[in-house]
Each structure stands twice: as C-alpha cells, then as structure tokens.
Symmetry: C2
Subunit: 712 residues, 2 copies
C-alpha cells in the first residue's frame, strides 16, 4: 500500500513539472524564451544585468517563428558538465560569439569564446566572449553562463545520428588536398559547458535576423545612447604628458581647427599605475581640478586611464582588502565586483574623487586576461582564484569587464550624466553600457571585421589609430575610425599626433613629416566629415536604444537571405541607409558587393545597381561609403566639439525620388530622454519636396535644416 502511494507521488511530481529531467520553458519577454535545466550557476551573465527588458518595444516587433521545434533543443548534464544541442539546418549561416577577431561566419567552426587580450589562432578568444550566436534563419541562442564554453557550430558528426555519409577520401599528395575542409552535414550546434550542473538557454526569436538582434538589445535594456560628445573625436595623449603639456595639446587642436571632444590621459596621471592608486600624481598634475575646469572651458572632456587592480598605496586598498580575490595582480587587489558592496566602494570613491570633479569618462584597461602578453604570465589572476562572493576565477574572468563597466556606468547614471567609456572586456546583456571596446592588436583587416562582428552581440567597437606604416595606412585607418562607433586616436606613446609623424621614433624626437601640414589638412577633412555625420549617427544610436537596431552591423543582418553576403565581413551598414566598405593600405581598389536595390557613391554621387560586385576606390579625403536609395543623409556643418547648446546646420542629401529619415534631438548629456524629454525630427522628401517635422517635449531646436540636395 505504502509503495503504491510512493509511485503515485512520483507520478504527480512528474506531471507537476518537478521532475529534474524536464527542461523548464518560460517566455521571459516577448519573443524571448528561457529554457532551464538542472541547477544553473548563480554567477551567470543575466543575473548581473540590472536593466529591465524594454517590453513595449519588443511587443511592437513582428512575431517570431523558430525554424525548429523548441523542444528539439536537447540539454544533458553529466559528471563533466552540461551539453546543449540546438538543431541546425543545412543551409543556415551562423554569426556572433562576441567580438570575434579571426572569423565571421561561424558555420562549421569550433569556437571557444574566452576573454583574452591576444586572440590569436582564431580559437574564439576575444575581448568580449559572448556565448551568443544568431542564425540567418531568424533566431539567436544564448547560453547564460560565465563558464568557458565551447561551441561546435555544425562541426561534429554523431555515431548513429542518421547524418549523410561523408564521401570517403584516400588522402592526397599535398597538405591542401589532404586537409581540405570536409563539409559536414551535422544537424546541430553543440555547446559544451564543463563544470556546469545545470544551464539556462535564452532563445531569441526573429522572425528575421535583425529582429533577433533587436530583441537581444531590447531585452538587455536597449542599446547604449552615448553622450553626444562621445560621437566626436577622442584623442589620448602621451602617457608622460604633464598638465601643461596636455594643455598645449588642447591648444594645438583648437588653434588648428582639428575637431576634438575628448582628451584621454594615460597611466602616469596616477601615483602608481601597475597596480593603480587612483590618486593624482602631483608631479604631472599639480592642480587637477583647475586642469579639468580649464579643459572644460575649451570644450574638452577628460577621460582617465585606469584598471581595476588596487595598489597598496591606494585609499581603496584597505576598505577592499576583505572584498577581493585571494590572488594579487601586480601586487594589487582584485576587487570582488560580483559583490555589490565591493563595486559600490570602488564606484563611490571614483564618484567623489573624479566624476564629481568633472571627469567625463574612464578607459578601463587590463580587465581581460592574457595568454602570454609580452612574455609575462603574471597578467591577471588565475582561474582557480576564489572570491568572497563565491564566484571563481574562471567565471570572474569572463564577467570582470562587464562588472567593471557596470560599476563605473552606474556612477554616471545616478548623477544623470551621460558618458562614453572605453573598456577592454565585455560580455552578454551589456548593450546598454556606453563603453567602447578597444584592443592592442592592430591588424586593420581584423579591425574592420570586428565592426561587423560587434553588431551581433550588442557591442561598441573602437578601431583606434596609433602609429602607421605609411601615410596610406594612416589615412585608411583614419577613414575606418571615422566610420566606426568611436573615432579614437590613441597616442599614448606619441609626442605629436600621428598625422604630423607616422613613425614612432621620429614622432618622439619631434622630427615631423615634411608635408605634415598637408597630412594634417587631409585628416582634418576626414574628422570634419565625422562631425558632419554626427546627427545621422546620433539618430542611429537612438534607434539602438529605443528599437534595439545595431548602429553598426554586417550586411547579413539587413539581407539575411542574400547568399552573396553570407561571408562579407569587410562591409557594414551604418544606421538605416549607409554602407561602408573601408580600404586598407594593401590596395587602392577593392571589391564591394552592393545588395539588391540602388546605391550611390557618397563622394561622387555615382549610381550603382545592387545585387552585384563592383571594383571601387576612394581617395584619402573621401569616405568609402555608399548610400541606399530612399535615404536622406542629414549632413551637418562640422563643429569642432559638441556641447548641449551646439547647433547643427544641416543639409539634407536626398538619394532617390522618395526618401525619409528621422533625427533624434535632446540635450545629449542627460538621461532626461528616458522621461520623454526629446524631439523626433521627421525628414521626408516626397514629390520633389523636402519637409521637416519636429515632435516631442524638448525645448531647444538643435537642428536647423538649411537645405535639400537631391541626388538621383
């Protein structure tokens, strides 16, 4: 009798969904389904996300449809960890895994997104290791884990899985023949998560790829809307510049009418940097407050380099000593950012010492890990580190950059001040943080590919310009910088701007280029083009925030069914209607594929029929940019820097017979837009007539439409 009741009890448990072997499934936001199996880790990326999903905007998206039954996602837990198998169709193309460096279309590859500053070999290592991939068939899969996870993207074949037999091969006579990629008909993406006792999988629906990304960004709170000045030019000065020398550099920019919004200070502003004291070094900056104020008066924002490893000489050391990992980095504490009390201590100190004194942003360095940076293995903490919160070193590595961002961003958020930060590591659900990733790697082709990859994971990527091998290299890199989320010249080891001398050694000896003024003028032209594009870019970022549309994205996002774009990683969309196709120093011509429709060369107005590849060129002072028919490109007269009262005199370039766009208008520096204090300026061109219509609650009219220029 008793035994019968027990069986009944088990049966009841099973039907009540309490059976541990059942995958739990719940729609956590419109088109976002969370699967849960086993005991998921506490320190997962979503648990660290404070942002509420932008439910209303998600609801407004067309309903998604998965190309498979969600029940066919298999999750298993073994002694080794968790394994997730997601169905994959033969013709699907896969993208994502964060800021990938070496690859774009991930179909057929094995990827291990691990945080790393030196992502060689295309293992999947990256500054932003996001366990999230998307399919051109209109869905995305995110494994909500901060454990090191390997994704086999249709690159394995199971025994007895009924997959098609491979054609047999009896080898070859050359390495190429022997090792040629044997295409594989495997029907799944498999994620291997060693150590996990359970796992959460987030499924993002489309119906199209673009909507998948919109849902992801909106679920993460909406994309970041940087301070408007963040879209201007950032220049980082030499590490050993004194307050006076920075002042001189500031004067150089204004005297020579080189646009610049932000000056970044490098390590030596602190008394000790490896590890950090977070204390102004009086030798270099005897009067920091006065310095910040003077700079502000001249229209410069000041950004401070730092990292999060706390030196014994820092006022933060004692308070953080009990809230840190059990290993030191450069003799500095590793704050336990997984514990909000540690983050708050760190943030409050920064708030009082820097932000309240007028510091506009930080460059958060060294928060990634390293393989073997420059022969040293003492970079960062070991993976077996333990922290008071209970997070281990492996998980902390993956999350460190995003937790650091969160700590610093919250200072600004609480003060109702916007910013644009720099950071060297990030992770999932971080779309809302206005922090641009940067890298010490410097391959221009990779930097371009990273723009296209950034859009798959809610990231802002800054392909910075440092030294150059040639004038051509400098100009091509500058074009890419102008056509990216953040235009940054990082001169931390250069006395003079790189356009006055590309060579490091000569630059630091003040041996300037013979034609320095000509190069300076050419760079000025490019920077002015950047400033002309600011209203357009600002609107693209507003779309990122309110609609989740990545401002910079691969062509596949807009054209998911065009086979010709499956593997294009050196062209990308900017906002609604611009297509960038940067050149490098390798050649003065390049192939550009233009998708269906009609396109116009930004520089010449030349018209192209889409669906074809063209060979194009672009001189140094133009932009390798194409405009889609139906676009209004609002080009502003360039300003040298942006303040809340900056006005933009705009000429609307109309491409085609009927075109439209919008402009987003607000103060550019507060979060008041969250309380609807902003305007939308609708621009329409119909029947040979341009019309601007402003709506909204913001008082100031910052955009003046002074003319229309039609290109047909």
């Amino acid at each position: 009798m008793k035994f019968k009741f027990f069986l009944l009890f088990l049966l009841l448990l099973k039907y009540a969904g309490l059976d541990a072997q059942t995958v739990q499934q719940v729609e956590v936001a419109p088109g976002v389904i969370k699967l849960n199996f086993g005991v998921a880790d506490k320190f997962n990326p979503y648990n660290f996300c404070d942002q509420k999903p932008a439910v209303a905007a998600m609801k407004a998206l067309p309903k998604g449809k998965l190309p498979f039954d969600i029940k066919d996602i298999l999750i298993s837990i073994t002694d080794r960890g968790a394994v997730v198998e997601v169905p994959l169709k033969d013709d699907e193309q896969l993208y994502g895994f964060g800021l990938q460096v070496g690859s774009f279309n991930q179909r057929g590859l094995r990827k291990k997104p691990i945080v790393n500053d030196n992502p060689l070999n295309d293992l999947g290592y990256t500054h932003a290791p996001i366990p999230f991939y998307v399919s051109n068939k209109g869905y995305g899969i995110l494994i909500n884990t901060s454990r090191y996870t390997t994704f086999y993207c249709g690159s394995t074949n199971k025994l007895n899985n009924g997959a098609k037999a491979l054609s047999e091969s009896n080898g070859g006579n050359s390495v190429e023949e022997l090792y040629k990629n044997k295409a594989n008909a495997n029907g799944s993406v498999t994620a291997d998560i060693p150590g996990a006792k359970g796992v959460e999988v987030y499924v993002f629906e489309g119906p199209e790829l673009l909507q998948v990304l919109q849902r992801y960004n909106l679920f993460s709170g909406g994309g970041a809307l940087p301070a408007m000045w963040g879209l201007g030019v950032k220049y980082r000065v030499k590490a050993d510049f004194t307050q006076q020398q920075v002042g001189k550099m500031a004067a150089y920019f204004r005297d020579n009418h080189m646009p610049c919004d932000v000056l970044g200070l490098e390590p030596k502003w602190q008394t000790t940097a490896y590890s950090c004291s977070y204390v102004w070094n009086p030798k270099y900056f005897p009067s920091p407050s006065q310095f910040i104020d003077t700079m502000k008066q001249r229209g410069f924002h000041i950004n401070l380099w730092e990292h999060a490893f706390v030196n014994p000489a820092s006022p933060l050391y004692e308070p953080l000593k009990t809230k840190a990992g059990n290993y030191l980095v450069w003799n500095g504490l590793v704050p336990d950012f997984a514990d909000s009390s540690a983050s708050n201590l760190f943030a409050n100190y920064h708030k009082q010492t820097f932000v309240e004194k007028g510091i506009s942003g930080f460059k958060m360095d060294e928060c990634d890990n390293s393989n073997l940076a420059y022969g040293s293995a003492t970079w960062s903490f070991p993976e077996h580190s333990s922290f008071p919160s209970g997070i281990d070193g492996e998980q902390m590595h993956q999350m460190f950059g995003v937790l650091y961002q969160k700590a610093v961003y919250n200072i600004y958020k609480q003060m109702n001040i916007r910013t644009l930060l720099d950071v060297r590591a990030s992770n999932a659900f971080a779309s809302s943080y206005p922090a641009a990733l940067y890298s010490d790697t410097y391959d221009h082709d990779e930097y371009i590919r990273m723009v296209t990859n950034s859009g798959f994971s809610g990231l802002i990527w800054s392909p910075e310009v440092r030294e150059s091998a040639s004038i051509k290299d400098l100009m091509r890199r500058s074009q890419t910088a102008v056509l990216s989320a953040q235009t940054l010249y990082n001169s931390w080891y250069l006395t003079n701007p790189p356009w006055l001398q590309i060579n490091v050694e000569k630059n630091n000896k003040n041996e300037l280029l013979a034609n320095d003024k000509q190069i300076e003028a050419d760079v000025r032209t490019l920077l002015n083009l950047r400033m002309s594009l600011v209203p357009y870019l600002y609107n693209a970022f507003a779309d990122y925030h309110f609609k989740g549309i990545p401002p910079f994205r691969a062509l596949i996002v807009d054209y998911p069914n065009d086979k010709n774009v499956y593997n294009i990683s050196n062209e990308y969309m900017i906002g609604q209607g611009l297509l960038a196709a940067p050149l490098t120093d390798k050649a003065d011509e390049r192939k550009v594929y233009l998708p269906e429709g009609v396109w116009y060369d930004f520089n010449t107005g030349q018209k192209y029929t889409g669906g074809k590849e063209y060979s194009i060129t672009c001189n140094y002072t133009g932009l390798p940019l194409f405009v889609k028919e139906g676009t209004i490109l609002p080009l502003a007269e360039p300003v040298e820097y942006i303040t809340p009262s900056s006005k933009f005199e705009i000429t609307c370039r109309v491409y085609g017979k009927t075109a439209s766009t919008t402009l987003f208008e607000d103060d550019g520096v507060t979060f008041n837009y969250e309380k609807s204090t902003y305007n939308t300026v609708a621009l329409n061109y119909i029947n040979n007539k341009g019309m601007a219509k402003r709506s909204g609650n913001y008082k100031l009219k910052r955009y003046n439409i002074k003319g229309w220029q039609v290109i047909q």
Copy 2:
C-alpha cells in the same frame, strides 16, 4: 552515550587514515612518493601504464632529498576541481610539461599542456602534453591526471601570502616599458585541475635532476630500446607511389649507396584513408606480401601510415561499432582505446593483417587534436564525447596517442619483435614505448628546442626533414636529423628525395637541382656519419632502458647548478659524452656554451676549455658536435642498413688521456635482452692503451674494435 561513541568512531577513522581531508602518502617505488587526496579519476595516465617499475635499478640510485617538506604540498578540492600547490624556491629553474615547442625554462610561465597538433602562442599545447615538471633542485612533480590542467610556475601572488612586495610602477611610454615582465617572488607552483574530485601527485626524488629523470623513466618500465634498424635512416615515400614506384625508390637508395633502413608508405596504400579502411589498395599495391618480402630481401623495413579513425569500409568497423565514442571523425569510428577489448580488436586485426605479413612499424597519425587545422574544425572528436568505458572526450584526447601506441606496441611485444613506431601524440609514463613523435610544424629552431625538451618527459622526438628553402636549410636540417633519436626524411609529397630538389613544385616536375649529385654526396656523408654513430647511440638507448638516462637531454640535466645553462635550449647532450649544437639556415656561425671541463670539436679535434661561450661553425658535411674529455667515441664503418647479422667495424676515438665507455650488443630485433641475452663491451683507455672487454650471454660478436685513435 551514543553521541560519544560516534565521536570515538570519527576519531578512529581519522587515525586510521580514512579521513577524507588527509593527504595519503605512500612510497610506490624507491624515491617515488604518491600523494592521494579525494577521489582520484579512474582514467589517469598511470592507470593505463602496464609496465612494472624497474625497482632494482631505482634502488641502485643514490637516495634523493627534497628541498622542501613533502607535507608542504597542499591539495585542495573545491566545487570547481582540484588545486595542487607545490613549494618553490626563488632560485629554482623548472622544465618539462612534455614536448613543449615555444618555451624551455618554464619558471615564471603559465603552461596548459593540452594535446594539439598546432601548438602556437606558447600556451603549453603540444603533441605530448605531460603534466610533469622537474626542478634543477632535484625533484619532479607529476599530476596523475588526463584532465586539462594549468600550471602556474611561480607566476601568481597570493593575497596575504607574505610574499615580498613588488616594486610599484606607474607605467611607461612604450609597450616594452609598460609590459616588461614584473619578476615575481611567489613561492609555489600551482596546478589547477578543473573537474577533478580528487588527485594523485607523484613526487620523483633525485638527488640530482638526472636521477629524477632516471626514476621517472625507470618507474615507467625503463626507456624504450628501439629495434637497432630504427637508429638507421627512415624515408617516407610520396603518398601516391605504387608498389612499383616504391621499388624504384628502394633501388635508388641501394644503387647510390644512400643508407636507408625503413621505407614508409603514406595514405594511399589504403582503399580509404580519411577515415581509414586498413585494407591494401590493389590499385597501388596489387601484391603487398610479395612487395614486403622483396623489400625485406633488399634490407628495407616497411612502415605503414594510418590513423585510428575507422571507416565504414573497414573490416574493423562492425566489430568496433559498439566499442567506440558517440562522435565520428571523418565519418569514422573513434575506438574506445580505454577499453582493452577495443584495443585488442584493433591490435589483433593489425597483427594478422600486417605484422604477421612482415610490416615492421606504423606511423600513427592524427591522434592529436587540432585548434583549427587548415580551416577545418572537424578534426577529431569533441571534448564532450562519451565512450562506453566511461572516459570522456577531454581525457580521451589527452590519452589517445599513448593508448594507440600501447595497442600497436603490444602486438610487437607479444611477437617478440622490436620496432620503432611514429606517433603524433603521447603522454605520461610512456617512456617504454618505442615511438618517435613528429610534427607538421616545421620551424627548425623549434625542432631543436623540442630535442632538449623531449628528454624531460621520456619522449623520443624526430625532427623530420621535408622540403627546404635553400640548400643550406636542407643541410642544416639534415644535420639536426642525424643528431636526433630518429633520422627521418618525410617525402610524402615529394617525387624525388629532397636532396635532389629542395623545391616542392620542381621536385614533383622532376626538375632536379643542377648540382644534385653534389648535394646527394653531401647528404650521403651525413647519413654515413649517422650510421657510424649507431653503436654509440644504441648504447645510449640501452642506458635509457636499463638506467633511465635520457639519450637526448638538455645541458641542465647534466649541469643543474650551472647558471649559464638554465636557458640553453639549442644545445643538448647525446649519450654520455657528446654535446650537439645544431645550426640553422639563419647563420653560418653560432654561439656555443661549453660547460665546465674540456671539450673537443668532433670534426677538427680542436680543444676547448669549458665554462665559456664560443663562436663556432660547421660545414655541411660535418656535425656540430663536441666531445667531452674522458669519452671514448666508438665510430663504426658505415653500413647501408642494419640486420641482426650486421657487423660493425669500430674505431675508438679516445678524447683525453683516460677514457671509457661501453657498447651494448644483442640481436637488435628481439626482446631477448630482457632475459639477459646481451653483451656489454667495456672500452677503456688507460695508460696510453685501449682495451675492450666483452661480458654477457649473447653469442654473436657484432662489434669488432679495429683500432684506437687518440685525440688530446
């Protein structure tokens, strides 16, 4: 009352050593202490080792002494896995971790020895990922695990560990300045073994570094003694050669008196190779038995290329189908070699089909894993694979090469036939397997470094010669090949031997070098030098087997306290008295450090005082070799190939006034030496007189000492 008894019970448990928190410690062989904590993994390297420790030889070694208290080795188990911390003194130098490619002295580095065919970036990836390091202070530590393990070799600093404070730094103005290695005073090597619920640590005592290695090799059953013909020259023919073409190549060797003992066949001898059928392809080899016999008559041994992934077309497929992993590789089964019944099936088929027909060895390819070999991610099985035996994919990856070796070696062992195999992966406790590692990487400097590293872990490494960039490159690589454990020319994609045409394309068009006969003669000179060295090398291998002395080893092994050799990875000892210092195509001169004592140039007899560095050169037909004073170098008249009846006419080169050595004499092809069927020929030169004294049970006198040549 009951509670008291319970406490008493706990107390008893504790003193009975059953407390799970106590590290168990037991001396498992003379000078080898095993520590055990928690529940160690079943599939660990030592569990797979069949060989009994050579206890008598170990007992004969001087007693070791650890530079720390063994109780100071700390082991902890957390949710994440196991962590082992081993004391480390400031002045210790560390070596090992298997066939490391990018680094030599591991002090200060982070190393993750993971099996891999493409070990870039110096992460620690290697063909032979051995979790074993040794210290110049006279001990070795082996973590007996097949899990992916990370070693922090004094590269981390703990919070509150009382380590010396680092000098603070406030950054620099250049990458070099900023990132220079900040030396670290940490007092431990830490091994991180994620996933482990327990761990075994083997501590190998010295007293000196050499004895540590001796103990390791003897504990593994003694080093491998290859078939004597294995010390001759191996040549691998082009993959698409037919039986007839191989015959022609054989004739070339004999007609031109180029020494050659082994011809290796590449993939196309099988009906299907990726994956393997293990069935002769009648198109290329219509009569294999006849072919093998003919070759044998001409003094050639035949070696067959294969790998272990079993094609559906193979007779092995059906029997192995239930004894294989759940993922396929190139549509082939992955045999569960951790299950002896699978190994036996595989071995028995090979025995009957090949070995009993006269096949002398195999080249066991593809048993390593790959990052992303040639753009394909379908290389090998995923880490989350499961196998019927219970081993998982990660552990199987680490052990696959060694289990494959074991399966194939046992065929020969059972048949009382010796061999020398080729293999692309190995692991710990494999010293007794006569299998030479090889690699697709081809950097000559790395190949030389791998000779020095091989000796720290009981490995045989074969720096093979393929194509060359220049004649100089060919000759320098040939010299290194001659001065290595196996002299191998791998021409799997070359129609003609590389010395007739170094360029691949021209070679395959039969466009030979203008001076091909001259180059051939130069290579012949080198190969003849190899054949002259065979008795010396054979004796070095006998010392490897009976005494555990690595035949090829870094200078630090013989001179552990000479600071000048701490980082020398481009010189190595061969046998008792030879020091090799190979040159590459980069320069015709190089620096050679000669340790204390007196040394002689092998080619010129020039005398050098040790303890100093010299600039030396070596022409193409000499050997970059130095002989230690007190050495007798027994040089044989070169034979073209070696049979059990080969006799060696030996001239003893005596270096110095008093010198000695031994020669090991047996049939060279059976294991009868294990039953003492061998001779030792003691060679002594004292008071201006040379004496040879033979002792032992072997009947045939293979060495004839025909003269003494004194160099002083």
